[in-house]
Symmetry: C2
Subunit: 361 residues, 2 copies
């Protein structure tokens, strides 16, 4: 059972893909015009129906890209991936929607709508802006404030029964009704952009982590059940790997020691990078002889996901690590420096970005 | 298990009162200033916390009275009871709210919001007006159109879990999620009038049939669970007997042969009254000797509930029936005549009442 609320660390992606019929992204990447770094580097590893989106892009036609954020905790470096994807989609012709899942945050984390709104602005949206996403071109909304969204959720909830919700999400008798109902709001998040209010008959992609796949499956089922009433196209999806936490577990806002938060000070950033688990050997001597293991290195992941754009430069790091000529101390310092540069840039844009974020909501 | 959707005919009221802690109305009626006919005649037989409402009335203070209608099927003579109660409450200082349960109708009967609105106006509200309820003094709303209502429902749904909903309503694994969620909207119907938007800290009464008691119990539980967040006063309630159908089963819109609809033509009304099961004996001879049984007579119920206001006159009918001097043929004709007069009056007011009803929504 994978569900969006308790999913954790060690993931066998291959196994999950097999089990739920998710296809390999590598098999369609050649059809994509200008694939993003995350696509080329295998961070985005799986998809459903992305063929359709690739075709729309190559035909210069619009499509819908949907993202959600749960306003709880703080935004960490792993979340940057979402922003990078949305920027890419926007650039390639998408109508981008961002749902702030304040109803889910209330149902599952007891965060009030008022708190949710504040967290969304002060922890997430301003960083989205600072990271370069043009929110003026994006439809951003709070779930709790959208009546059409809630109407659609209730409408769709008529054709899903308790057994189905249990089978998909593993709900127990102790599950509260708000929590039980919240996934239907997520489904409505995914389908509302295809309603008459926005872009009917437009293919949709939802970039997610594998833990969100239950929502995708439920939505695709519901589209079929309502085919006589609505002309929804089943949403496609992409799946990205989770960035590792500093200790190699999943990076998670709720475990501060695993995460580099986008609001961490430069000192803290440097310390955290230096504390990260690497693919280094037991001793310096051994590492010089055998080389390091970038495949198992949290620091290398930071470079791969976020910090080195040029493939050639990344390849150099990889090769030198493997050869034992690039040692962990030096590599950590270089990575910390790059990350600090990124964070410095975010901090400079902070005030202006918060103002933009506040005005968006 | 009693639930609002499958409840039927033969009811042991005493047993249910005992089981669920409903108190006898007869024990508090002496505290009520000008009790209504339905109260005096025992049609309203049970209550929870009505003491509080009786006190408010005697102190000339306002209180809240709430009623709901599910816009499905047609309005029958049994439904008049609700209107009579609301008129009485309005006259005695209540702020009256009427919820049109279009979300419940969608969840449980697949009636669209559009259909629900039309049924509400053309089958129910106009009759409410024609029966003399001043809707200008009443807050009437469609569940689907009230964002505060839906917000409150979602808010409250956080502290109810699946076990509790099953225990109260007997939901199965095949129950759809809209249906599962709909009772929370009913709970919000009952509590919203006590929110900051309307009349905070005001005692509330909900006049219902016993089949709606699960909603009352759930609401009272929820008030306790949210006592730290909201200042809701647990709603009181009254319970009325169901009027019998023409064949002695429960009168029900979904069984047209059991019901006299308020839009039936005068001919049909007469025919239906004459076809009703009475408390008469096997033969005329026997009836003259032994007398009839008004306690078991559908026609007598019509007189008791709706058609004879003066107690003295009703007593005469009762006595003469018991004595065997008033026979069923004569009694049915007199009853049909009274009912036709009522219906004629409704028909005259029809156009004007529909206009008022349309403007209310």
């Amino acid at each position: 059972m994978i569900d969006p609320w308790t999913f954790s660390s060690t993931v066998d992606y291959e196994d999950i893909m097999e089990q739920f019929g998710i296809k390999k992204f590598s098999e369609i990447i050649m059809n994509i015009k200008n694939p993003s770094l995350l696509m080329k580097r295998g961070v985005i590893f799986g998809h459903r129906d992305f063929d359709l989106i690739a075709r729309r892009i190559s035909e210069n036609k619009n499509f819908i890209a949907i993202s959600g954020m749960m306003p709880s905790g703080k935004m960490h470096i792993g979340h940057k991936m979402v922003v990078d994807q949305l920027k890419w989609y926007l650039k390639h012709g998408a109508n981008v929607f961002i749902s702030i899942a304040d109803m889910e945050a209330y149902a599952t984390r007891s965060i009030s709508f008022k708190e949710g709104r504040e967290i969304a602005i002060n922890e997430y949206l301003f960083n989205y802006v600072a990271l370069g996403l043009d929110l003026d071109k994006v439809e951003v909304y709070l779930q709790s404030q959208s009546k059409p969204l809630n109407d659609l959720a209730f409408n769709l909830s008529k054709k899903v029964n308790l057994s189905q919700m249990r089978a998909i999400y593993g709900f127990e008798n102790s599950t509260n009704i708000a929590h039980l109902y919240a996934p239907l709001i997520q489904v409505a998040d995914i389908l509302l952009p295809q309603s008459e209010l926005f872009f009917p008959n437009t293919p949709t992609v939802v970039p997610v982590g594998i833990d969100q796949d239950p929502h995708i499956r439920l939505t695709r089922d519901i589209v079929i059940r309502f085919k006589d009433e609505f002309n929804f196209i089943a949403p496609g999806s992409t799946y990205h790997r989770f960035i590792s936490g500093l200790n190699k577990d999943k990076m998670s806002s709720s475990k501060p020691k695993t995460a580099i938060f986008l609001t961490d000070s430069l000192d803290v950033v440097e310390k955290k990078v230096k504390s990260a688990k690497t693919g280094g050997r037991e001793s310096l001597k051994e590492q010089k002889e055998l080389g390091g293991c970038p495949e198992k290195c949290v620091v290398y992941e930071l470079l791969l996901y976020h910090l080195i754009k040029e493939d050639k430069k990344l390849e150099n790091v990889y090769t030198h690590c493997k050869e034992g000529t690039l040692l962990c101390g030096e590599c950590k310092q270089a990575t910390a420096d790059k990350l600090k540069e990124l964070f410095e840039n975010l901090a400079i844009k902070r005030d202006e970005s918060i103002e933009i974020a506040e005005n968006i909501l």
